[in-house]
Symmetry: C3
Subunit: 132 residues, 3 copies
Protein backbone atom coordinates (compact mmCIF):
# COMPACT_ATOMS: atom_id res chain seq x y z
CA UNK A 1 0.00 0.00 0.00
CA UNK A 2 1.19 3.50 -0.91
CA UNK A 3 0.38 6.47 1.38
CA UNK A 4 0.19 9.91 -0.22
CA UNK A 5 1.16 13.05 1.69
CA UNK A 6 0.02 16.46 0.39
CA UNK A 7 2.59 19.26 0.45
CA UNK A 8 1.93 22.94 -0.26
CA UNK A 9 4.58 25.57 -0.93
CA UNK A 10 4.13 29.36 -1.08
CA UNK A 11 7.39 30.47 -2.73
CA UNK A 12 9.36 29.52 -5.86
CA UNK A 13 12.00 27.74 -3.78
CA UNK A 14 10.95 26.25 -0.47
CA UNK A 15 12.23 23.43 1.69
CA UNK A 16 9.68 21.87 4.05
CA UNK A 17 10.35 19.59 7.01
CA UNK A 18 8.02 16.61 6.42
CA UNK A 19 9.48 14.32 9.11
CA UNK A 20 6.29 14.33 11.22
CA UNK A 21 4.06 13.60 8.21
CA UNK A 22 6.28 10.68 7.15
CA UNK A 23 6.32 9.36 10.76
CA UNK A 24 2.52 9.49 10.82
CA UNK A 25 2.21 7.68 7.49
CA UNK A 26 4.62 4.99 8.69
CA UNK A 27 2.72 4.58 11.97
CA UNK A 28 -0.57 4.22 10.06
CA UNK A 29 0.93 1.44 7.91
CA UNK A 30 1.54 -0.56 11.11
CA UNK A 31 4.84 -2.21 10.08
CA UNK A 32 7.10 -3.15 13.00
CA UNK A 33 10.38 -3.52 11.06
CA UNK A 34 11.40 -2.87 7.48
CA UNK A 35 12.38 -0.11 5.08
CA UNK A 36 10.51 3.13 4.36
CA UNK A 37 10.62 4.74 0.91
CA UNK A 38 9.89 8.44 0.44
CA UNK A 39 9.29 9.18 -3.25
CA UNK A 40 8.58 12.51 -4.99
CA UNK A 41 6.63 12.01 -8.28
CA UNK A 42 7.58 15.48 -9.61
CA UNK A 43 10.50 16.76 -11.69
CA UNK A 44 11.27 20.15 -10.13
CA UNK A 45 11.12 18.90 -6.53
CA UNK A 46 13.14 16.41 -4.52
CA UNK A 47 13.63 14.97 -1.05
CA UNK A 48 16.70 14.84 1.19
CA UNK A 49 17.68 14.05 4.77
CA UNK A 50 19.75 16.47 6.85
CA UNK A 51 19.77 18.51 10.08
CA UNK A 52 16.41 19.81 11.27
CA UNK A 53 17.48 21.33 14.60
CA UNK A 54 18.75 24.58 13.04
CA UNK A 55 16.60 25.80 10.10
CA UNK A 56 19.56 27.78 8.74
CA UNK A 57 21.13 24.51 7.51
CA UNK A 58 18.46 23.94 4.85
CA UNK A 59 18.64 27.65 3.91
CA UNK A 60 22.38 27.14 3.30
CA UNK A 61 21.60 24.08 1.18
CA UNK A 62 19.05 26.04 -0.88
CA UNK A 63 21.32 29.06 -1.34
CA UNK A 64 24.33 26.94 -2.31
CA UNK A 65 22.27 25.10 -4.93
CA UNK A 66 21.06 28.51 -6.22
CA UNK A 67 24.68 29.67 -6.54
CA UNK A 68 25.82 26.49 -8.31
CA UNK A 69 22.77 26.27 -10.61
CA UNK A 70 21.51 29.84 -11.08
CA UNK A 71 17.98 30.65 -12.22
CA UNK A 72 17.73 31.77 -15.84
CA UNK A 73 21.37 31.16 -16.76
CA UNK A 74 20.87 30.44 -20.47
CA UNK A 75 19.45 26.92 -20.35
CA UNK A 76 17.94 25.10 -23.36
CA UNK A 77 14.63 24.15 -21.73
CA UNK A 78 12.16 26.89 -22.71
CA UNK A 79 9.84 26.78 -19.71
CA UNK A 80 12.27 28.87 -17.62
CA UNK A 81 12.61 26.29 -14.85
CA UNK A 82 15.62 24.29 -16.03
CA UNK A 83 17.48 25.22 -12.84
CA UNK A 84 14.70 23.56 -10.81
CA UNK A 85 15.00 20.30 -12.79
CA UNK A 86 18.78 20.27 -12.25
CA UNK A 87 18.54 21.05 -8.52
CA UNK A 88 15.95 18.28 -8.08
CA UNK A 89 18.32 15.84 -9.82
CA UNK A 90 21.22 16.79 -7.53
CA UNK A 91 19.11 16.49 -4.36
CA UNK A 92 17.38 13.25 -5.43
CA UNK A 93 13.91 11.94 -6.17
CA UNK A 94 13.67 9.53 -3.26
CA UNK A 95 15.10 8.63 0.13
CA UNK A 96 15.17 5.44 2.13
CA UNK A 97 14.95 5.19 5.96
CA UNK A 98 15.08 2.00 8.02
CA UNK A 99 12.10 1.19 10.27
CA UNK A 100 12.47 -0.43 13.71
CA UNK A 101 9.88 -0.77 16.47
CA UNK A 102 7.33 0.76 14.10
CA UNK A 103 9.33 4.01 13.84
CA UNK A 104 11.79 5.66 11.45
CA UNK A 105 15.37 4.93 12.49
CA UNK A 106 16.60 8.50 11.91
CA UNK A 107 19.77 9.87 13.50
CA UNK A 108 19.44 12.36 16.39
CA UNK A 109 19.77 15.44 14.18
CA UNK A 110 18.14 14.08 11.04
CA UNK A 111 14.90 15.31 9.49
CA UNK A 112 13.29 14.56 6.13
CA UNK A 113 12.90 17.55 3.81
CA UNK A 114 10.74 18.11 0.76
CA UNK A 115 12.51 20.57 -1.57
CA UNK A 116 10.47 22.50 -4.15
CA UNK A 117 12.51 24.46 -6.70
CA UNK A 118 9.67 25.74 -8.94
CA UNK A 119 6.74 26.59 -6.67
CA UNK A 120 4.46 27.69 -5.31
CA UNK A 121 2.67 24.39 -5.92
CA UNK A 122 0.54 21.66 -4.41
CA UNK A 123 2.53 18.44 -4.50
CA UNK A 124 2.33 14.81 -3.46
CA UNK A 125 4.90 12.63 -1.72
CA UNK A 126 4.51 8.84 -1.78
CA UNK A 127 5.33 6.78 1.31
CA UNK A 128 5.70 3.01 1.30
CA UNK A 129 7.09 0.54 3.83
CA UNK A 130 8.37 -2.93 2.97
CA UNK A 131 8.33 -5.34 5.89
CA UNK A 132 11.34 -7.45 6.81
CA UNK B 1 15.80 -12.45 -9.47
CA UNK B 2 17.86 -9.70 -11.10
CA UNK B 3 17.07 -8.57 -14.67
CA UNK B 4 19.89 -7.09 -16.72
CA UNK B 5 19.28 -4.39 -19.32
CA UNK B 6 21.95 -3.70 -21.96
CA UNK B 7 22.67 -0.04 -22.74
CA UNK B 8 24.86 1.27 -25.58
CA UNK B 9 26.16 4.81 -25.90
CA UNK B 10 27.85 6.41 -28.92
CA UNK B 11 29.38 9.56 -27.38
CA UNK B 12 31.59 10.37 -24.37
CA UNK B 13 28.65 11.88 -22.47
CA UNK B 14 25.20 10.58 -23.23
CA UNK B 15 21.96 10.40 -21.31
CA UNK B 16 19.51 7.71 -22.43
CA UNK B 17 15.82 7.39 -21.55
CA UNK B 18 15.49 3.78 -20.30
CA UNK B 19 11.96 4.11 -18.89
CA UNK B 20 10.45 1.66 -21.40
CA UNK B 21 13.19 -0.93 -20.82
CA UNK B 22 12.71 -0.72 -17.05
CA UNK B 23 8.91 -0.98 -17.46
CA UNK B 24 9.37 -4.11 -19.60
CA UNK B 25 11.73 -5.70 -17.06
CA UNK B 26 9.27 -4.96 -14.25
CA UNK B 27 6.36 -6.41 -16.26
CA UNK B 28 8.38 -9.58 -16.94
CA UNK B 29 9.04 -10.03 -13.21
CA UNK B 30 5.26 -10.20 -12.65
CA UNK B 31 5.13 -8.43 -9.29
CA UNK B 32 1.82 -6.68 -8.56
CA UNK B 33 3.01 -4.33 -5.79
CA UNK B 34 6.41 -3.55 -4.31
CA UNK B 35 9.55 -1.53 -4.91
CA UNK B 36 11.72 -1.48 -8.05
CA UNK B 37 15.49 -0.91 -7.81
CA UNK B 38 17.47 0.38 -10.79
CA UNK B 39 21.20 -0.14 -10.18
CA UNK B 40 24.20 0.82 -12.35
CA UNK B 41 27.23 -1.44 -11.69
CA UNK B 42 29.69 1.03 -13.27
CA UNK B 43 31.71 3.95 -11.86
CA UNK B 44 31.53 6.56 -14.64
CA UNK B 45 27.79 6.18 -15.20
CA UNK B 46 24.72 6.78 -13.08
CA UNK B 47 20.93 6.80 -13.13
CA UNK B 48 18.45 9.57 -12.33
CA UNK B 49 14.75 10.37 -12.65
CA UNK B 50 13.53 13.64 -14.21
CA UNK B 51 11.42 15.09 -17.03
CA UNK B 52 11.28 13.09 -20.24
CA UNK B 53 8.71 15.16 -22.17
CA UNK B 54 11.26 17.78 -23.32
CA UNK B 55 14.68 16.27 -24.18
CA UNK B 56 16.33 19.67 -23.57
CA UNK B 57 15.95 19.12 -19.80
CA UNK B 58 18.47 16.29 -19.70
CA UNK B 59 20.78 18.27 -22.01
CA UNK B 60 20.66 21.10 -19.44
CA UNK B 61 21.48 18.60 -16.68
CA UNK B 62 24.45 17.25 -18.68
CA UNK B 63 25.78 20.70 -19.58
CA UNK B 64 25.45 22.01 -16.03
CA UNK B 65 27.36 19.00 -14.67
CA UNK B 66 30.04 19.65 -17.34
CA UNK B 67 30.32 23.28 -16.19
CA UNK B 68 30.54 22.35 -12.48
CA UNK B 69 32.92 19.40 -13.00
CA UNK B 70 34.93 20.19 -16.16
CA UNK B 71 36.73 17.52 -18.17
CA UNK B 72 40.51 17.49 -17.69
CA UNK B 73 40.64 20.14 -14.95
CA UNK B 74 43.78 18.93 -13.18
CA UNK B 75 42.47 15.89 -11.34
CA UNK B 76 44.69 13.32 -9.58
CA UNK B 77 43.22 10.21 -11.24
CA UNK B 78 45.53 9.47 -14.20
CA UNK B 79 43.04 7.77 -16.54
CA UNK B 80 41.68 11.16 -17.66
CA UNK B 81 38.09 10.40 -16.65
CA UNK B 82 37.99 11.75 -13.08
CA UNK B 83 35.22 14.17 -14.10
CA UNK B 84 33.08 11.18 -15.12
CA UNK B 85 33.53 9.47 -11.72
CA UNK B 86 32.56 12.70 -9.92
CA UNK B 87 29.50 13.34 -12.12
CA UNK B 88 28.33 9.74 -11.58
CA UNK B 89 28.65 10.25 -7.82
CA UNK B 90 26.57 13.44 -7.92
CA UNK B 91 23.85 11.86 -10.06
CA UNK B 92 23.73 8.58 -8.12
CA UNK B 93 24.36 4.88 -8.67
CA UNK B 94 20.78 3.72 -8.12
CA UNK B 95 17.16 4.81 -8.07
CA UNK B 96 14.07 3.42 -6.44
CA UNK B 97 10.53 3.53 -7.89
CA UNK B 98 7.37 2.17 -6.26
CA UNK B 99 5.37 -0.51 -8.11
CA UNK B 100 1.56 -0.66 -8.08
CA UNK B 101 -0.74 -2.70 -10.29
CA UNK B 102 2.34 -4.33 -11.81
CA UNK B 103 3.61 -0.95 -13.12
CA UNK B 104 6.12 1.72 -12.10
CA UNK B 105 4.41 4.48 -10.09
CA UNK B 106 6.19 7.33 -11.91
CA UNK B 107 4.90 10.90 -11.90
CA UNK B 108 3.30 12.25 -15.10
CA UNK B 109 6.49 13.92 -16.35
CA UNK B 110 9.01 11.48 -14.93
CA UNK B 111 11.30 9.23 -16.94
CA UNK B 112 14.27 7.10 -15.87
CA UNK B 113 17.61 8.10 -17.40
CA UNK B 114 20.90 6.25 -17.73
CA UNK B 115 23.76 8.78 -17.71
CA UNK B 116 27.12 7.79 -19.21
CA UNK B 117 29.96 10.26 -18.59
CA UNK B 118 32.86 8.31 -20.14
CA UNK B 119 31.51 6.54 -23.23
CA UNK B 120 31.01 5.35 -25.79
CA UNK B 121 30.47 2.04 -24.01
CA UNK B 122 28.32 -1.04 -23.69
CA UNK B 123 26.87 -1.07 -20.17
CA UNK B 124 24.51 -3.04 -17.97
CA UNK B 125 21.73 -1.85 -15.68
CA UNK B 126 20.35 -4.18 -13.02
CA UNK B 127 16.61 -4.24 -12.28
CA UNK B 128 15.08 -5.93 -9.25
CA UNK B 129 11.63 -5.78 -7.67
CA UNK B 130 10.88 -6.62 -4.04
CA UNK B 131 7.26 -7.59 -3.43
CA UNK B 132 5.21 -6.08 -0.63
CA UNK C 1 17.48 -6.76 11.96
CA UNK C 2 19.79 -3.76 11.64
CA UNK C 3 23.59 -4.24 11.80
CA UNK C 4 25.67 -1.30 12.99
CA UNK C 5 29.18 -0.69 11.68
CA UNK C 6 31.52 1.64 13.62
CA UNK C 7 33.58 4.10 11.57
CA UNK C 8 36.39 6.31 12.86
CA UNK C 9 37.92 9.25 11.02
CA UNK C 10 41.08 11.18 11.90
CA UNK C 11 40.73 14.30 9.72
CA UNK C 12 38.04 16.91 9.07
CA UNK C 13 37.29 15.45 5.64
CA UNK C 14 37.91 11.77 5.11
CA UNK C 15 36.52 9.17 2.77
CA UNK C 16 36.76 5.55 3.96
CA UNK C 17 36.31 2.39 1.91
CA UNK C 18 33.79 0.34 3.94
CA UNK C 19 33.09 -2.31 1.29
CA UNK C 20 34.59 -5.15 3.34
CA UNK C 21 32.69 -4.16 6.50
CA UNK C 22 29.41 -4.03 4.58
CA UNK C 23 30.17 -7.41 2.94
CA UNK C 24 30.81 -8.90 6.40
CA UNK C 25 27.58 -7.49 7.81
CA UNK C 26 25.62 -8.86 4.84
CA UNK C 27 27.26 -12.29 5.20
CA UNK C 28 26.37 -12.34 8.93
CA UNK C 29 22.71 -11.60 8.12
CA UNK C 30 22.62 -14.81 6.04
CA UNK C 31 20.27 -13.61 3.30
CA UNK C 32 20.73 -15.40 -0.04
CA UNK C 33 18.98 -12.85 -2.29
CA UNK C 34 17.51 -9.42 -1.69
CA UNK C 35 18.45 -5.77 -1.32
CA UNK C 36 21.05 -4.25 1.03
CA UNK C 37 20.57 -0.77 2.48
CA UNK C 38 23.53 1.26 3.74
CA UNK C 39 22.29 4.18 5.85
CA UNK C 40 24.27 6.98 7.56
CA UNK C 41 22.39 8.41 10.60
CA UNK C 42 24.48 11.61 10.64
CA UNK C 43 24.10 15.01 8.95
CA UNK C 44 27.67 15.93 8.01
CA UNK C 45 28.53 12.51 6.56
CA UNK C 46 27.22 10.48 3.64
CA UNK C 47 27.77 7.31 1.66
CA UNK C 48 28.45 6.77 -2.04
CA UNK C 49 29.53 4.04 -4.45
CA UNK C 50 32.39 4.57 -6.91
CA UNK C 51 35.79 3.26 -8.00
CA UNK C 52 37.94 1.70 -5.28
CA UNK C 53 40.85 0.44 -7.42
CA UNK C 54 42.61 3.83 -7.58
CA UNK C 55 42.36 5.82 -4.31
CA UNK C 56 42.93 9.07 -6.24
CA UNK C 57 39.33 8.89 -7.53
CA UNK C 58 37.81 9.52 -4.10
CA UNK C 59 40.39 12.25 -3.49
CA UNK C 60 39.18 13.93 -6.69
CA UNK C 61 35.58 13.59 -5.48
CA UNK C 62 36.48 15.17 -2.11
CA UNK C 63 38.50 18.00 -3.66
CA UNK C 64 35.82 18.81 -6.23
CA UNK C 65 33.15 18.98 -3.51
CA UNK C 66 35.50 21.28 -1.53
CA UNK C 67 35.84 23.55 -4.57
CA UNK C 68 32.08 23.66 -5.23
CA UNK C 69 31.08 24.07 -1.57
CA UNK C 70 34.01 25.81 0.16
CA UNK C 71 34.55 25.69 3.91
CA UNK C 72 33.62 28.93 5.72
CA UNK C 73 32.16 30.73 2.70
CA UNK C 74 29.67 32.93 4.55
CA UNK C 75 26.96 30.44 5.40
CA UNK C 76 24.05 31.15 7.80
CA UNK C 77 24.53 28.08 10.04
CA UNK C 78 26.63 29.29 12.98
CA UNK C 79 28.41 26.04 13.88
CA UNK C 80 30.94 26.56 11.09
CA UNK C 81 30.19 23.25 9.37
CA UNK C 82 27.48 24.29 6.87
CA UNK C 83 29.72 23.11 4.01
CA UNK C 84 29.73 19.61 5.54
CA UNK C 85 25.91 19.49 5.70
CA UNK C 86 25.68 20.56 2.04
CA UNK C 87 28.33 18.07 0.86
CA UNK C 88 26.56 15.26 2.72
CA UNK C 89 23.30 16.21 0.99
CA UNK C 90 24.93 16.14 -2.46
CA UNK C 91 26.60 12.78 -1.83
CA UNK C 92 23.55 11.17 -0.20
CA UNK C 93 22.49 9.67 3.13
CA UNK C 94 22.02 6.10 1.90
CA UNK C 95 22.86 3.64 -0.84
CA UNK C 96 21.22 0.48 -2.06
CA UNK C 97 23.04 -2.60 -3.43
CA UNK C 98 21.43 -5.80 -4.73
CA UNK C 99 22.30 -9.09 -3.01
CA UNK C 100 22.70 -12.38 -4.90
CA UNK C 101 24.20 -15.65 -3.69
CA UNK C 102 24.55 -14.06 -0.25
CA UNK C 103 26.89 -11.37 -1.60
CA UNK C 104 26.72 -7.74 -2.70
CA UNK C 105 26.20 -7.49 -6.47
CA UNK C 106 28.75 -4.68 -6.94
CA UNK C 107 30.32 -3.88 -10.30
CA UNK C 108 33.97 -4.88 -10.89
CA UNK C 109 35.35 -1.46 -9.97
CA UNK C 110 32.77 -0.46 -7.37
CA UNK C 111 33.44 0.06 -3.69
CA UNK C 112 31.23 1.55 -0.95
CA UNK C 113 32.59 4.72 0.66
CA UNK C 114 31.74 6.46 3.92
CA UNK C 115 32.37 10.21 3.51
CA UNK C 116 32.89 12.36 6.60
CA UNK C 117 32.96 16.12 5.98
CA UNK C 118 33.20 17.36 9.59
CA UNK C 119 35.50 14.96 11.45
CA UNK C 120 37.42 13.62 13.12
CA UNK C 121 34.55 11.61 14.62
CA UNK C 122 33.31 8.20 15.67
CA UNK C 123 30.30 7.36 13.52
CA UNK C 124 27.83 4.57 12.87
CA UNK C 125 26.57 3.13 9.62
CA UNK C 126 23.39 1.02 9.58
CA UNK C 127 23.18 -2.07 7.35
CA UNK C 128 19.96 -3.92 6.62
CA UNK C 129 19.01 -6.56 4.06
CA UNK C 130 15.49 -7.24 2.85
CA UNK C 131 15.02 -10.74 1.44
CA UNK C 132 13.31 -11.36 -1.88
Amino acid sequence: MVKKIEVKTSKREEILDITREVEKAVASLGVEAGVCYIYVPHTTAGVFINEHADPSVVQDIRETLARLVPYGAGYRHLEGNADAHIKATLVGTSQVVLVEGGRLLLGTWQGIFFAEFDGPRRRKVYIKVLEG
